[in-house]
Symmetry: C2
Subunit: 154 residues, 2 copies
Protein backbone atom coordinates (compact mmCIF):
# COMPACT_ATOMS: atom_id res chain seq x y z
CA UNK A 1 0.00 0.00 0.00
CA UNK A 2 1.16 3.49 -0.83
CA UNK A 3 1.92 5.86 2.02
CA UNK A 4 -0.52 8.70 2.45
CA UNK A 5 1.15 12.10 2.68
CA UNK A 6 -0.24 14.34 5.42
CA UNK A 7 0.67 18.02 5.64
CA UNK A 8 -0.27 19.91 8.80
CA UNK A 9 1.96 22.90 9.50
CA UNK A 10 2.11 24.15 13.11
CA UNK A 11 -0.19 27.06 13.87
CA UNK A 12 -2.26 26.65 10.69
CA UNK A 13 -5.92 25.70 10.63
CA UNK A 14 -5.74 23.26 7.73
CA UNK A 15 -4.70 19.69 6.98
CA UNK A 16 -3.85 18.43 3.50
CA UNK A 17 -3.65 14.78 2.57
CA UNK A 18 -2.25 13.58 -0.75
CA UNK A 19 -2.62 10.08 -2.15
CA UNK A 20 -1.89 8.48 -5.51
CA UNK A 21 -3.93 5.74 -7.13
CA UNK A 22 -3.21 3.50 -10.15
CA UNK A 23 -6.48 4.43 -11.84
CA UNK A 24 -7.78 7.25 -14.05
CA UNK A 25 -9.40 10.25 -12.37
CA UNK A 26 -12.91 9.56 -13.65
CA UNK A 27 -12.86 6.15 -11.99
CA UNK A 28 -11.49 7.45 -8.67
CA UNK A 29 -13.99 10.33 -8.66
CA UNK A 30 -16.87 7.97 -9.42
CA UNK A 31 -15.93 5.50 -6.69
CA UNK A 32 -15.48 8.26 -4.07
CA UNK A 33 -18.92 9.75 -4.79
CA UNK A 34 -20.84 6.45 -4.93
CA UNK A 35 -23.05 5.92 -1.83
CA UNK A 36 -23.10 2.13 -2.37
CA UNK A 37 -19.30 1.95 -2.08
CA UNK A 38 -18.79 4.15 1.02
CA UNK A 39 -19.14 1.20 3.47
CA UNK A 40 -16.33 -0.58 1.59
CA UNK A 41 -13.62 2.05 2.15
CA UNK A 42 -14.70 5.02 4.35
CA UNK A 43 -13.06 4.86 7.78
CA UNK A 44 -11.21 2.06 9.58
CA UNK A 45 -12.19 -1.53 8.73
CA UNK A 46 -12.72 -2.30 12.43
CA UNK A 47 -15.91 -0.18 12.18
CA UNK A 48 -18.95 -0.81 10.07
CA UNK A 49 -20.06 2.28 8.21
CA UNK A 50 -23.68 2.81 7.21
CA UNK A 51 -24.78 5.50 4.79
CA UNK A 52 -27.81 7.12 6.44
CA UNK A 53 -27.96 9.74 3.70
CA UNK A 54 -25.77 10.65 0.72
CA UNK A 55 -26.91 12.98 -2.03
CA UNK A 56 -23.70 13.44 -4.09
CA UNK A 57 -24.69 16.58 -5.95
CA UNK A 58 -24.33 20.33 -5.38
CA UNK A 59 -26.65 21.28 -2.51
CA UNK A 60 -27.05 17.70 -1.28
CA UNK A 61 -26.51 16.41 2.25
CA UNK A 62 -24.75 13.40 3.70
CA UNK A 63 -24.72 11.46 6.99
CA UNK A 64 -22.69 8.35 7.80
CA UNK A 65 -22.90 6.24 10.96
CA UNK A 66 -19.96 4.16 12.19
CA UNK A 67 -20.41 1.33 14.67
CA UNK A 68 -17.62 -0.34 16.63
CA UNK A 69 -17.47 -3.97 17.83
CA UNK A 70 -19.23 -3.01 21.08
CA UNK A 71 -22.12 -1.41 19.24
CA UNK A 72 -21.13 2.19 20.01
CA UNK A 73 -22.24 4.53 17.25
CA UNK A 74 -20.45 7.61 15.91
CA UNK A 75 -22.26 9.78 13.38
CA UNK A 76 -20.89 12.33 10.93
CA UNK A 77 -22.78 14.70 8.66
CA UNK A 78 -22.42 17.60 6.29
CA UNK A 79 -23.51 19.23 3.06
CA UNK A 80 -22.09 19.26 -0.46
CA UNK A 81 -21.33 22.84 -1.45
CA UNK A 82 -20.35 21.50 -4.87
CA UNK A 83 -19.80 18.20 -6.66
CA UNK A 84 -18.16 19.23 -9.92
CA UNK A 85 -17.55 16.18 -12.14
CA UNK A 86 -16.32 18.35 -15.03
CA UNK A 87 -13.58 20.02 -13.02
CA UNK A 88 -13.05 17.02 -10.74
CA UNK A 89 -13.49 19.00 -7.53
CA UNK A 90 -15.78 18.54 -4.56
CA UNK A 91 -16.31 20.95 -1.66
CA UNK A 92 -18.22 19.72 1.36
CA UNK A 93 -18.63 20.28 5.09
CA UNK A 94 -17.97 17.74 7.85
CA UNK A 95 -19.11 17.58 11.47
CA UNK A 96 -18.76 14.83 14.06
CA UNK A 97 -22.11 14.82 15.83
CA UNK A 98 -20.33 14.10 19.12
CA UNK A 99 -18.80 17.58 18.93
CA UNK A 100 -21.68 19.70 17.63
CA UNK A 101 -20.86 23.12 16.25
CA UNK A 102 -17.30 22.18 15.23
CA UNK A 103 -17.32 22.05 11.46
CA UNK A 104 -14.65 21.78 8.78
CA UNK A 105 -14.78 22.38 5.05
CA UNK A 106 -13.04 19.86 2.78
CA UNK A 107 -11.94 20.50 -0.80
CA UNK A 108 -10.96 17.41 -2.80
CA UNK A 109 -9.28 17.56 -6.22
CA UNK A 110 -8.32 14.76 -8.60
CA UNK A 111 -5.42 15.20 -11.03
CA UNK A 112 -4.39 12.66 -13.67
CA UNK A 113 -0.89 12.04 -14.93
CA UNK A 114 0.16 9.00 -16.93
CA UNK A 115 -3.01 7.10 -16.07
CA UNK A 116 -2.53 7.66 -12.34
CA UNK A 117 -4.61 9.90 -10.10
CA UNK A 118 -3.37 12.23 -7.39
CA UNK A 119 -6.17 12.88 -4.95
CA UNK A 120 -5.59 15.92 -2.76
CA UNK A 121 -7.87 16.78 0.15
CA UNK A 122 -7.57 20.02 2.09
CA UNK A 123 -9.67 20.51 5.21
CA UNK A 124 -9.94 23.95 6.78
CA UNK A 125 -11.11 24.18 10.38
CA UNK A 126 -12.82 26.97 12.30
CA UNK A 127 -9.78 27.25 14.60
CA UNK A 128 -6.22 25.98 14.97
CA UNK A 129 -7.35 24.23 18.17
CA UNK A 130 -9.99 22.28 16.22
CA UNK A 131 -7.38 21.29 13.65
CA UNK A 132 -4.96 20.14 16.35
CA UNK A 133 -7.75 18.27 18.12
CA UNK A 134 -8.60 16.38 14.93
CA UNK A 135 -4.93 15.42 14.48
CA UNK A 136 -4.92 13.95 18.00
CA UNK A 137 -7.91 11.68 17.40
CA UNK A 138 -5.79 9.27 15.39
CA UNK A 139 -6.96 10.89 12.18
CA UNK A 140 -3.66 9.98 10.47
CA UNK A 141 -4.11 6.22 10.99
CA UNK A 142 -7.76 6.46 10.02
CA UNK A 143 -7.01 8.37 6.83
CA UNK A 144 -4.23 5.94 5.90
CA UNK A 145 -6.55 2.96 6.38
CA UNK A 146 -9.30 4.60 4.30
CA UNK A 147 -6.81 5.19 1.48
CA UNK A 148 -5.55 1.58 1.72
CA UNK A 149 -9.10 0.29 1.48
CA UNK A 150 -9.84 2.66 -1.43
CA UNK A 151 -6.68 1.43 -3.22
CA UNK A 152 -7.78 -2.19 -2.80
CA UNK A 153 -11.28 -1.34 -4.06
CA UNK A 154 -9.94 0.44 -7.16
CA UNK B 1 -23.45 53.94 13.20
CA UNK B 2 -21.24 51.63 15.19
CA UNK B 3 -17.86 50.71 13.75
CA UNK B 4 -17.51 47.14 12.60
CA UNK B 5 -14.44 45.41 14.02
CA UNK B 6 -12.50 43.37 11.46
CA UNK B 7 -9.74 40.98 12.50
CA UNK B 8 -7.50 39.55 9.78
CA UNK B 9 -4.05 38.55 11.05
CA UNK B 10 -1.26 38.34 8.45
CA UNK B 11 -0.59 34.85 7.12
CA UNK B 12 -3.86 33.40 8.48
CA UNK B 13 -6.66 32.10 6.30
CA UNK B 14 -9.54 33.57 8.26
CA UNK B 15 -11.33 36.88 8.76
CA UNK B 16 -13.45 37.68 11.80
CA UNK B 17 -15.92 40.54 11.96
CA UNK B 18 -17.58 41.64 15.19
CA UNK B 19 -20.56 43.97 15.42
CA UNK B 20 -22.88 45.00 18.25
CA UNK B 21 -26.59 45.75 17.89
CA UNK B 22 -29.09 47.35 20.29
CA UNK B 23 -31.49 44.43 20.02
CA UNK B 24 -31.92 41.00 21.63
CA UNK B 25 -30.27 38.00 19.95
CA UNK B 26 -33.53 36.33 18.90
CA UNK B 27 -34.48 39.40 16.94
CA UNK B 28 -31.07 39.80 15.25
CA UNK B 29 -30.96 36.09 14.42
CA UNK B 30 -34.49 36.20 12.98
CA UNK B 31 -33.78 39.25 10.82
CA UNK B 32 -30.50 37.80 9.48
CA UNK B 33 -32.15 34.52 8.44
CA UNK B 34 -35.26 36.05 6.85
CA UNK B 35 -35.20 35.85 3.00
CA UNK B 36 -37.67 38.74 2.69
CA UNK B 37 -35.29 41.08 4.54
CA UNK B 38 -32.02 40.21 2.73
CA UNK B 39 -32.54 42.87 -0.02
CA UNK B 40 -32.86 45.51 2.73
CA UNK B 41 -29.42 45.04 4.27
CA UNK B 42 -27.18 42.49 2.48
CA UNK B 43 -24.36 44.21 0.59
CA UNK B 44 -23.82 47.86 -0.36
CA UNK B 45 -26.92 50.01 -0.92
CA UNK B 46 -25.62 51.05 -4.36
CA UNK B 47 -26.50 47.51 -5.53
CA UNK B 48 -29.89 45.89 -5.63
CA UNK B 49 -29.86 42.41 -4.15
CA UNK B 50 -32.33 39.75 -5.26
CA UNK B 51 -32.81 36.49 -3.40
CA UNK B 52 -32.83 33.82 -6.08
CA UNK B 53 -32.97 31.09 -3.45
CA UNK B 54 -32.78 31.02 0.35
CA UNK B 55 -33.68 27.95 2.39
CA UNK B 56 -32.60 29.00 5.90
CA UNK B 57 -32.48 25.56 7.48
CA UNK B 58 -29.82 22.88 7.95
CA UNK B 59 -29.10 21.35 4.54
CA UNK B 60 -30.68 24.23 2.61
CA UNK B 61 -29.11 26.26 -0.19
CA UNK B 62 -28.94 29.97 -0.96
CA UNK B 63 -28.19 32.18 -3.98
CA UNK B 64 -28.25 35.99 -4.10
CA UNK B 65 -27.82 38.18 -7.19
CA UNK B 66 -26.51 41.75 -6.94
CA UNK B 67 -27.01 44.24 -9.74
CA UNK B 68 -25.17 47.54 -10.10
CA UNK B 69 -26.45 50.77 -11.69
CA UNK B 70 -25.17 49.65 -15.11
CA UNK B 71 -27.07 46.37 -14.91
CA UNK B 72 -24.00 44.20 -14.29
CA UNK B 73 -24.88 41.14 -12.23
CA UNK B 74 -22.81 39.42 -9.55
CA UNK B 75 -24.09 36.17 -8.11
CA UNK B 76 -23.17 34.41 -4.86
CA UNK B 77 -24.24 31.00 -3.62
CA UNK B 78 -23.71 28.40 -0.95
CA UNK B 79 -25.25 25.86 1.39
CA UNK B 80 -26.32 25.96 5.02
CA UNK B 81 -24.39 23.33 6.94
CA UNK B 82 -26.45 24.28 9.99
CA UNK B 83 -28.96 26.88 11.11
CA UNK B 84 -29.19 26.34 14.85
CA UNK B 85 -31.76 28.70 16.38
CA UNK B 86 -31.40 27.09 19.83
CA UNK B 87 -27.66 27.70 20.06
CA UNK B 88 -27.77 30.84 17.91
CA UNK B 89 -25.14 29.63 15.46
CA UNK B 90 -25.15 29.29 11.70
CA UNK B 91 -22.50 27.62 9.53
CA UNK B 92 -22.69 28.12 5.79
CA UNK B 93 -20.56 28.17 2.66
CA UNK B 94 -20.05 31.11 0.30
CA UNK B 95 -18.82 31.30 -3.29
CA UNK B 96 -18.71 34.23 -5.73
CA UNK B 97 -19.78 32.68 -9.01
CA UNK B 98 -17.28 34.90 -10.83
CA UNK B 99 -14.49 32.93 -9.14
CA UNK B 100 -15.77 29.36 -9.29
CA UNK B 101 -14.12 26.79 -7.05
CA UNK B 102 -13.03 29.36 -4.44
CA UNK B 103 -15.21 28.72 -1.42
CA UNK B 104 -15.22 29.93 2.17
CA UNK B 105 -17.04 28.66 5.23
CA UNK B 106 -18.65 31.21 7.55
CA UNK B 107 -19.61 30.62 11.17
CA UNK B 108 -21.87 33.26 12.74
CA UNK B 109 -22.67 33.41 16.46
CA UNK B 110 -24.99 35.74 18.39
CA UNK B 111 -24.32 36.54 22.04
CA UNK B 112 -26.58 38.63 24.25
CA UNK B 113 -25.51 40.88 27.10
CA UNK B 114 -27.67 43.50 28.72
CA UNK B 115 -30.22 43.40 25.88
CA UNK B 116 -27.54 43.96 23.24
CA UNK B 117 -26.29 41.42 20.71
CA UNK B 118 -22.72 40.79 19.67
CA UNK B 119 -22.69 39.16 16.26
CA UNK B 120 -19.41 37.49 15.40
CA UNK B 121 -18.69 36.09 11.96
CA UNK B 122 -15.61 34.03 11.18
CA UNK B 123 -14.89 33.07 7.58
CA UNK B 124 -12.24 30.45 6.83
CA UNK B 125 -10.82 30.33 3.31
CA UNK B 126 -9.22 27.49 1.36
CA UNK B 127 -5.93 29.42 1.24
CA UNK B 128 -4.27 32.53 2.68
CA UNK B 129 -4.18 33.93 -0.88
CA UNK B 130 -7.96 33.60 -1.15
CA UNK B 131 -8.37 35.38 2.18
CA UNK B 132 -6.03 38.20 1.12
CA UNK B 133 -7.81 38.46 -2.24
CA UNK B 134 -11.16 38.90 -0.50
CA UNK B 135 -9.72 41.65 1.72
CA UNK B 136 -8.58 43.52 -1.40
CA UNK B 137 -12.04 43.52 -3.00
CA UNK B 138 -13.21 46.27 -0.66
CA UNK B 139 -14.80 43.67 1.60
CA UNK B 140 -14.24 45.94 4.63
CA UNK B 141 -16.35 48.78 3.25
CA UNK B 142 -18.99 46.34 2.05
CA UNK B 143 -19.22 44.62 5.41
CA UNK B 144 -19.41 47.95 7.23
CA UNK B 145 -22.22 49.12 4.98
CA UNK B 146 -24.15 45.85 5.44
CA UNK B 147 -23.86 46.24 9.22
CA UNK B 148 -24.99 49.88 9.04
CA UNK B 149 -28.02 48.86 7.00
CA UNK B 150 -28.75 45.99 9.40
CA UNK B 151 -28.52 48.41 12.36
CA UNK B 152 -31.00 50.77 10.71
CA UNK B 153 -33.34 47.87 9.95
CA UNK B 154 -33.24 46.58 13.54
Amino acid sequence: MRKLQIIAEPGRQEVTTVCEFDAPTERVFKVCTDPALIPKWWGPSAYTTTVDKMEPHTGGSWRFVQKDADGNEFAFRGVYHSIDADNLQTVSTFEFEGMPGHVLMETVTYEEYDGKTTMRSTSVFQTVADRDGMMQTGMEDGAQESMDRLTALL
